[in-house]
């Protein structure tokens, strides 16, 4: 059954969200995350004496850790509802989608629940990332001038 009637009704009543406020919130939260990332990298380099590359890797791990923890504790979803793209576009969104989908299917068991559904939402990022990276990599390789 196609729900064209539902779509008609839904199109007649567009959601009355405040788009300007949404955009500003996304701008602020995304910016704060960017500043946190830069601060973490400089902090790791300064205090732990790491190299720039190791520090940025550690920074990403820390971000993923806290995003997964807050998602599992339950209050990251409320933040995502409020800030939307500000939290979904950074790497926190990737960790959030993986943790929330595996938590949602926890009751179906460890194999067919958690195992099969962990990449339910994050899979598109991996798939299109690998496909486009392969495609553009081939173009760069065939044109030559690698390096």
């Amino acid at each position: 059954m196609r729900n064209t009637k539902y779509e008609k009704i839904a199109n007649r009543h567009p959601s009355k969200e405040n788009r300007v406020q949404n955009a500003l919130l996304a701008f602020l939260s995304g910016g704060v995350l960017g500043v946190l990332a830069e601060g973490m990298i400089e902090g790791f380099v300064f205090f732990f004496d790491l190299k720039q590359k190791e520090a940025s890797t550690l920074m990403i791990v820390v971000f993923i850790f806290f995003a997964s923890l807050f998602t599992a504790l339950g209050f990251f979803d409320k933040w995502v509802k409020k800030f939307r793209c500000g939290l979904l576009i950074p790497i926190t969104g990737f960790a959030h989608s993986m943790t929330s989908s595996s938590l949602d299917y926890k009751k179906e068991g460890p194999i067919y629940g958690v195992g099969s559904n962990m990449f339910r939402l994050a899979g598109n990022v991996l798939l299109y990332g690998v496909v486009s990276a392969w495609f553009f990599g081939m173009i760069r390789f065939l044109i030559g001038g690698i390096g």
């Binding site: 993923i64 599992a72 793209c85 500000g86 939402l121």
Partner: protein, 116 residues
């Protein structure tokens, strides 16, 4: 200076995506897929590397950086071992992120209960 650039870059990217999300029928899944492809495209000719050098940490956080690291690892390996390097080096740089995400979400799923 890097802090201001990070704030502006990451914030602007998130704001653009929020505007797209609000005004079209695309879902967050569409937008993240487009951004990953965009990151891979931008690094085909090392443009994203320049952005990272200019912006700093703010450019490593958005999901575009994921596409960038995929193709960056692939090309770096291709330089060493030829054609097969594209296949071998694909996950070289993103391995940390993917491994961390899998491990942490698995352990937190084991320990904690879902709630709504």
């Amino acid at each position: 200076m890097y802090f201001i650039r990070s704030f502006l870059f990451c914030g602007t990217l998130c704001m653009i995506c929020q505007i797209i999300l609000d005004n079209t029928k695309l879902t967050p899944g569409h937008i993240t897929s487009i951004l990953v492809s965009l990151g891979a495209f931008l690094d085909t000719f090392s443009i994203y590397d320049k952005i990272i050098k200019f912006v700093g940490g703010g450019a490593l956080i958005p999901i575009t950086s994921f596409g960038h690291s995929l193709i960056h690892g692939a090309l770096a390996e291709a330089e060493r071992s030829g054609f097969m390097g594209i296949f071998m080096g694909m996950f070289d740089l993103t391995a940390t992120g993917i491994t961390a995400a899998i491990l942490f979400s698995f352990f937190f799923t084991l320990i904690l209960k879902p709630r709504d």
